[in-house]
């Protein structure tokens, strides 16, 4: 793909203009940073103790415990949602009309209802334990999203693959299991890892039911150490680091898939599901 260039190679006047704009832009950024700094300072939020309290052994262990709970909930939900999503995707592609309807209904419902409502529903409506209500909510919601990713992955495969499998006498379930899915799954991996980022972010909704994941622990630490601003910013930074690592991993997978032997196995590169990225903003 050629990348469009939106501005001409600069002449002397243009260079002066850009230099001026760069200076103004930098001054603006510097101004924002300065105002932020003054705000912190004049409100006494830069005191060393407020920040160093975050890095005592005890505090670190506390945050680490929160992160572990976050990862645990995210991991369990991901596995359950993958299984449910696979079943749903196959149901959506089923030959039987009622099965397709049922799957579509499920999908529309759980994609349309906010995750918080699902979590609260499980917690207050069915008296589920805190972590279970989060896992159930995340699983229901993500099953719908993952089903769409998986379906797109299956549909992206050349029809000749399943036709050839049927032609050599495989049953339709053998075709799906031995020919279609193994290839489709490879293409979906980057999209799935991207969705994992969203899922991980969504675990922070655990605060709604006071589950002690990372954000809740940040809130508790902030109350205990009397530094809510610092604790919450610290939590935000942890989320950011973890998610950037995951995104980098997804990009790496995508790049790796674009080359090498997968070229033969899965022509057309990784599957792109339009809208999924946006669907999953939560």
């Amino acid at each position: 793909m050629t990348v469009a260039v939106f501005a001409d190679q600069l002449g002397p006047r243009g260079k002066v203009k850009v230099a001026a704009a760069t200076a103004v832009g930098s001054a603006f950024v510097a101004g924002v940073v300065y105002v932020a700094f003054r705000r912190f300072e004049s409100n006494g939020q830069l005191e060393a103790k407020l920040w160093s309290d975050l890095f005592t052994g005890e505090a670190i262990r506390f945050f680490w415990g929160g992160l572990k709970n976050t990862l645990k909930v995210a991991g369990v939900s991901l596995i359950l949602a993958l299984v449910a999503g696979m079943v749903l995707a196959l149901a959506r592609l089923s030959k039987r009309l009622p099965v397709r309807w049922l799957a579509t209904l499920w999908l529309q419902f759980f994609r349309g209802v906010p995750l918080v409502v699902l979590i609260l529903f499980g917690f207050y409506g069915f008296d589920l334990p805190r972590s279970t209500s989060i896992i159930v909510g995340l699983t229901l919601y993500n099953s719908a999203v993952l089903a769409e990713i998986i379906r797109a992955g299956i549909l992206s495969l050349d029809r000749g693959q399943s036709e050839a499998a049927l032609a050599v006498g495989m049953t339709s379930s053998q075709t799906m299991r031995l020919v279609v899915l193994p290839q489709a799954v490879r293409r979906m991996v980057p999209a799935l890892v991207s969705q994992l980022v969203v899922l991980l972010k969504d675990t922070s909704l655990g605060v709604a039911v006071l589950y002690e994941e990372l954000l809740r622990r940040g809130q508790l630490a902030g109350a205990f150490l009397k530094n809510p601003l610092q604790s919450l910013l610290f939590v935000a930074a942890i989320y950011m680091v973890v998610n950037l690592l995951l995104s980098a991993f997804a990009r790496w997978l995508e790049r790796r898939q674009g080359q090498g032997k997968s070229k033969k196995a899965a022509p057309g590169g990784p599957v792109r599901v339009t809208g999924v990225e946006d669907l999953s903003v939560a």
């Binding site: 469009a4 980022v197 339009t274 946006d278």
Partner: protein
Amino acid sequence: MGVVLDNLGAFGEGLRTTVALTVLSYLVAFVVGTFVAAMRVSPILPLRWLGALWTETLRNIPLTVLFFVFFFGFTKIGISYLPFTSAVIVLGCYTSAFVAETVRSGINSVAAGQAEAARALGLSFPQVIGTIVLPQALRTVVAPLGSLFVALAKNTSIAFTVSVVELTRIVNDLANETGEAIPLYLGAAVAYLLFVLPASGAIGAIERKVAIRR
């Protein structure tokens, strides 16, 4: 079900707030997001960095965390507004990062020849972006921008965690009062669907209307 019917007024009020939150935040997100997208393709390096910093920061921090930082952290440095206003700011900024990424992908999808032709005619960078590239880019991203609207509508429910009085908060309080959680939350789910499903239908209609064949 009776408890839902008895409180239809409260449901309506909550839904109104939710809709208002969604629409206002979306306006903020759209304006800021388009601006950030333009920054990210501009010839001025610090602006590109700033744009990238904005999107990457906001996209990688959970919305719930942003709410907490803004509501409970920023009061410590003297930043506090009414809950509704704060919620619009947080939701708007968060969604703007996704709008920016979407618009940017739209910009990249406009054929390079368009920008080149515009430049050949002597248009400046703001003219190239504003009159040639963006109008075409925005048309191609109507569908993803629409999904962002729907996602935003659902995300307003997260404001519940910082006690903004919208649909989820109202239902939650009712559930605590009456103890009838199941019908009430089902009612909430239906209320959200009543907002979300027609909205995505309307978006589909807009999409078909502005679609251009290439």
